[in-house]
């Protein structure tokens, strides 16, 4: 198990450090602080680096953890170990409340919101009577096991670092799972994930809570390490510092959090002890250096130190090759009341005054390849978005197998066996082809976040990856299975999207310009694949501009122009249809 080796070595080194003769006790205190900061930063890695949700307010969650145990142990005499689950619970509940409000916010509103409640909560901590106002709460009992009271930094060191190691392990397990892939897809927007059944708001809330619970754990440890809690370490400044740590270490990497915490805590210590000698007497000078460093770092190395370090190591981690012999059970079929697979009846979409799709009606039968063609701006992709629930139609009815899906969310449409690709490729570039394709099988797996963290999902996971590998093989990208999706050519990325759509085990495949960017031979291979899919019982609805490709492949063609259906029929009939020729070539043709 070469994956575990570095971790075991790191654990051994950390365990040995306190026993090295001559290690100053002060170093142990620093290491304690690094561990505490690393816990919070690890949550931020998941939240910001992986999930794309920037939070400046994590320090407030440390506050919830710290104050919970502080109040319960001092005022009510509860044992510190009993307050641990309560501290985590309080941080988690606070995260649920704040998360419900904030994670739905797009882009820059979220970080601004976190700054605001970060400050608000800081003032709340410093004004509430039962939290001791600005003075905080002191005299918090130390942690103890049996007769061992963890009074000095050297003993609580082990508790802190065991917490760090366990959290790192659980976080890495989570990221390498069905739920983890859904989280990693968040940063690239919600449309792609939702098209395969990912409940993005729930996934966002999950990482938000996860990050808050890690911060709460850090706060609980902090309270018993300092044996006091006051508002200062839970303010906006601290929140900014945690984000700084994550960015320095490498916001997308679990170990980047530990590395970043090490760099920042030590740097801060050095700056605090030497800067006053240079500038004379002033305090808080380290923030100047911090601020400047943060800006320089973003300009020179925006991905942080950890990936930079890893790319310089001589060995590369071995990739796992999935065992393709495992069978994934077929998708649960929806009950069908009709032989028509897709029925579109007077579908209409208006954007303000623009009618993008104007009362379009057509059907797709089982085992049929239907092409949707038309000049640019004819409303083809909008029609796709109406069918898959990305957009809600203004009026009209769309049904799949007799089930009405107009205005159903994308997650419901995919459950009926409708899967799609996108005109603008929506893959996660820093995930491998295998991981990207496995997102397609999201609804066919069942393991949740908790079972993933404790590796109880391995059987489920192996079946999902096996299915993904089979579909990659099927579309002819077996050679590229381990490569990062972003490193493939655009044409190949489109094929990866088809493999991902096939993982749904679909009845109807919606392909948005699948042949764009493909070479002649690749197009022929794609056409052969689509025919083979049809012959095995699948239907395909495709938007395509390559007329040669469409005319050879499609059983039936629907032509749109300016949002209106102008013709429908076999390729032969469409080629000679005067309206179609007029739309494509102009009036005089």
């Amino acid at each position: 198990m070469s994956q575990r080796m570095p971790l075991l070595i790191f654990t051994a080194i950390m365990a040995a450090i306190p026993f090295i003769p001559g290690v100053p006790p002060f170093w142990i205190v620093l290491l304690d602080n690094i561990g505490l900061a690393a816990l919070v930063a690890m949550g931020l890695v998941l939240l910001t680096g992986v999930g794309g949700l920037t939070s400046f307010g994590q320090a407030a969650f440390c506050g919830f953890g710290a104050y919970t145990t502080a109040v319960l142990t001092t005022a009510y005499g509860v044992s510190p170990w009993l307050t641990l689950p309560l501290s985590l619970l309080v941080s988690g509940i606070a995260a649920v409340l704040l998360g419900i409000v904030t994670v739905r916010l797009s882009g820059h509103y979220l970080p601004l919101g976190t700054i605001a409640w970060g400050i608000g909560l800081f003032y709340l901590f410093s004004k509430l009577e039962f939290l001791g106002r600005n003075d905080g709460i002191s005299g918090i009992p130390p942690l103890s096991i049996g007769g061992l009271r963890m009074l000095d930094p050297g003993t609580i060191y082990y508790v802190i670092w065991i917490a760090v190691l366990i959290s790192a392990l659980l976080t890495m397990n989570l990221l390498d799972s069905r739920t983890g892939r859904a989280i990693r897809a968040l940063r690239r927007g919600h449309v792609a994930g939702e098209a395969f059944g990912v409940q993005t708001p729930r996934a966002k809330l999950l990482v938000f809570i996860y990050a808050a619970v890690l911060a709460g754990l850090s706060g609980w440890l902090y309270a018993h390490f300092q044996r006091a809690a006051n508002p200062t370490p839970f303010g906006a400044q601290a929140g900014i510092e945690y984000l700084f740590i994550a960015v320095v270490g490498g916001a997308g990497y679990v170990w980047g959090a530990v590395l970043g915490a090490g760099i920042v805590v030590i740097l801060k210590e050095v700056l605090q002890s030497y800067l006053p000698y240079i500038f004379g007497g002033q305090s808080q000078l380290e923030t100047i250096v911090f601020g400047i460093l943060l800006v320089v770092l973003l300009q020179l190395a925006p991905t942080g130190v950890w990936p930079w370090l890893m790319s310089r190591l001589p060995f590369k981690p071995a990739r796992k090759i999935p065992d393709t012999s495992l069978e994934l059970p077929a998708r649960e079929r929806a009950t069908s009341t009709t032989s028509v697979l897709l029925h579109v009846e007077k579908a209409r979409k208006q954007f303000g005054g623009v009618i993008a799709v104007n009362d379009v009606s057509f059907d797709v039968q089982a085992r049929e390849i239907v092409a949707l063609i038309g000049p640019n701006g004819a409303g083809k992709s909008t029609t796709f978005n109406l069918i898959t629930g990305v957009l809600t139609s203004t009026s009209g009815a769309i049904s799949v197998l007799g089930n009405k899906v107009d205005n159903a969310p994308p997650q419901e449409v995919v459950k009926l066996g409708v899967s799609r690709t996108f005109q603008h490729v929506k893959l996660v570039p820093d995930m491998t082809v295998l991981e990207n394709v496995a997102i397609g099988a999201h609804l066919r797996g069942h393991a949740g976040a908790i079972s993933s963290m404790f590796r109880l999902d391995r059987a489920d996971e192996a079946r999902l990856l096996a299915e993904a590998a089979r579909q990659i093989e099927r579309v002819g990208l077996g050679e590229q299975i381990d490569q990062l999706a972003g490193s493939l050519s655009l044409g190949q990325q489109r094929i990866v999207e088809i493999a991902r759509a096939l993982c749904v085990d679909p009845l109807l495949l919606l392909l948005d310009e699948p042949a764009a960017g493909l070479r002649h031979m690749e197009k022929q291979r794609l056409a052969a694949l689509l025919r083979q899919l049809r012959d095995s019982g699948m239907s395909v609805l495709l938007v395509e501009h390559d007329m040669g490709f469409v005319m050879d492949l499609a059983d039936r063609i629907v032509v749109l122009d300016f949002g209106t259906k102008i013709a429908e029929g076999t390729p032969g009939a469409i080629k000679t249809n005067p309206d179609v020729i007029k739309a494509y070539l102009g009036a005089t043709a």
Partner: protein, 346 residues
């Protein structure tokens, strides 16, 4: 509560609100043009206010030296960016802007600073100093990042805030400062007394709102600035100098920040870190305005000011808590009103 108290609180709220409105406007301006969420806006306020207060005591504020130092860095960056094609004209233009201008301002400050310098001169000096700091801040910190995402810009913005606030402590010390009033005139209207100071606050706020609205809605330059925000590449293709747009936005923001600072420093004592909180309250207003609407931002700022005034009367302990949690329902409404749209990132 009687009417008089209510009127006093309202007056207080509106005066503060007007300041928040000015800052909110500057934030909207910078965001609309550069996509930078300008956390250091608060530092422009303190730099303006405390430079003015120090000049009033006859001292030369450290900010004037900072401007020179930042100019040198900016000049270095310009030289580095043009290292493959160093031509005399752009280099000398850069030297004039980055070296000569701040040096001239520093020299002027040394020449004019004294206990008897007229208030108007001090105001002009502090505005000049903060204006060039704003200009150089864009050149140094944000211009190299102009193509990156809003989030990267935001983190950089926080970095600038930390550095500038720390420098503020070095320049002005931990003690608060107060500046002389701009005018001692006062008008009494019923139970209320309007000082010349607060009338100046109202007047300038209204002038800026109208001015910005006219500038962005009706001038070619204003429209060019807005185009830069929507699509940098597109703006460049039609001949808009996107760098210039960013510089103008930062210049305006720093001047507005410094003016707000000079307006409030005679009313309340300002500390080196006060600006952050004041700026954040401007933010709340800007967020209510969706970071795009000037009039809505101004109205929201007045609401924030009044909420602050009333909560400081009824629950003074929880004043800040109330003001900052005000943002939560606002964000909730925003998210319900405008469901998250797909963003193409990276």
């Amino acid at each position: 509560m009687n009417t008089t108290i209510m009127l006093f609180l309202l007056q207080d709220g509106i005066t503060n609100g007007a300041i928040y409105a000015l800052l909110g406007l500057a934030l909207v301006l910078v965001f609309a043009v550069t996509r930078v969420i300008l956390i250091p806006q608060g530092e422009f306020v303190t730099y303006g206010a405390l430079s003015y207060a120090m000049l009033a005591t006859g001292q030369v504020p450290g900010t004037a030296r900072l401007a020179v130092a930042m100019g040198v860095v900016a000049f270095g960056l310009d030289l580095y960016a043009a290292r493959r094609a160093l031509r005399l004209k752009p280099v000398s233009r850069s030297a004039a802007l980055n070296i000569v201008l701040p040096a001239a301002i520093l020299a002027l400050t040394y020449a004019l600073a004294g206990p008897k310098t007229p208030i108007a001169v001090n105001i002009v000096l502090s505005l000049l100093i903060v204006a060039v700091i704003g200009l150089f801040l864009y050149r140094i910190a944000f211009q190299p990042l102009a193509h990156t995402s809003v989030l990267v810009l935001l983190i950089a913005s926080v970095g600038c805030h930390l550095a500038l606030q720390g420098l503020g402590l070095v320049f002005f010390g931990a003690e608060g400062l107060r500046g002389p009033a701009l005018s001692n005139a006062a008008v009494t209207l019923g139970p209320l007394r309007f000082t010349g100071q607060s009338l100046a606050v109202y007047g300038l706020t209204i002038a800026f709102i109208v001015g910005l609205w006219l500038f962005f809605g009706f001038t070619l330059m204003g429209k060019a600035l807005r185009a830069t925000a929507v699509n940098r590449l597109g703006a460049r293709l039609v001949g808009i100098r996107t760098t210039l747009s960013g510089q103008i936005a930062f210049l305006l923001a720093s001047v507005i920040g410094a003016i707000s600072g000079i307006l409030i420093v005679p009313i309340t004592t300002l500390y080196y870190d006060t600006g952050f909180l004041i700026g954040l309250k401007g933010f709340i207003a800007a967020i209510i305005g969706g970071l795009v609407s000037y009039p809505l931002t101004a109205v929201a700022a007045l609401v924030v000011g009044c909420v602050e005034a009333f909560s400081s009367f009824y629950a003074s302990n929880f004043k800040e808590v109330i003001v900052f949690t005000l943002i939560i329902p606002v964000l909730l409404l925003r998210s319900l009103a405008a469901p998250a749209v797909e963003e193409e990132k990276d």
